[in-house]
Subunit: 158 residues, 2 copies
């Protein structure tokens, strides 16, 4: 693992302090019934979220999205939901609906309000250029969700 970390020498420790990235790690550790990740560093847990353009090209988009990728997608959006909850108090549901071809929807909702509504395509390749990008995307979604929750509190609490 230390080898893994040193190879990826570009990760600054600053980005690991991102509260969104911490929320992802928390989601993954929280689902870790068998203790697989118990001794893993946060950085190592987050690593699969970095999928470079080069790597993406190498991943086939044929067939079903494998369970590990599905779990990665879930972890990301559950973290978004958790961060929105922290700011607004709204407890939300995350629904990921993927067709066999990796197309689909991600919906995060509270009451009758959709806090996040995104279409996915090529979900097999879900990932970002860098951890900074992961954090950036997450924060964007959280801000939008929090904004909606504040604008339409009545709908969020239905």
């Amino acid at each position: 693992m230390s080898l893994d970390n040193s190879v990826n020498g570009t990760t600054s420790s600053t980005v690991l302090n991102s509260s969104f990235l911490k929320a992802i790690v928390q989601q993954i550790r929280g689902q870790d019934t068998y203790g697989v990740y118990r001794n893993w560093s946060d950085e190592l847990i987050l690593k699969p979220y970095v999928v470079t353009k080069q790597k993406k090209r190498e991943i086939s988009v044929e067939g079903e999205v494998d369970p590990i990728t599905q779990a990665r997608i879930m972890g990301f959006y559950r973290a978004v939901a958790a961060c929105i909850e922290q700011e607004t108090g709204l407890i939300s549901q995350v629904v990921v609906d993927l067709s066999h071809e990796g197309f689909g929807w991600v919906l995060v909702f509270s009451g009758r309000l959709l806090l996040v509504a995104r279409t996915l395509r090529d979900a097999h390749r879900f990932g970002f250029d860098s951890l900074e990008k992961v954090a950036e995307e997450g924060v964007k979604l959280i801000e939008k969700g929090v904004d909606l929750a504040k604008r339409f509190p009545e709908v969020g609490k239905l």
Copy 2:
């Protein structure tokens, strides 16, 4: 087919005039790329939506929900969406997310507004006691959706 119709002698022609049931038939005929249902009566097309309690007990809830049942569920909720659209002008998306155990969510949304949000369980057994019940349930969901759309037009159009 005429045999089938005559066996099920209890269906009154009145219920077949329900605009919701007509909307279901329209959905199914609209998806009928291969013309399977071309010569079927509306009644015959609607028949699989009637699943008596007795029949439900006979359907196993093990394993995946088969594609035909999934299509039946989709047809029902797409018809709900179409009827809401007719009354409100809001075009909506239907997302059905079923786990392998037949649990899941059905969501119908427009903009950031959830017009229908239902949990499903034992989806393998999706159906109703009678066609009257199908129509009744549909109308209930439509009324609720239309009501929400009218109360929160801004959210529905986001």
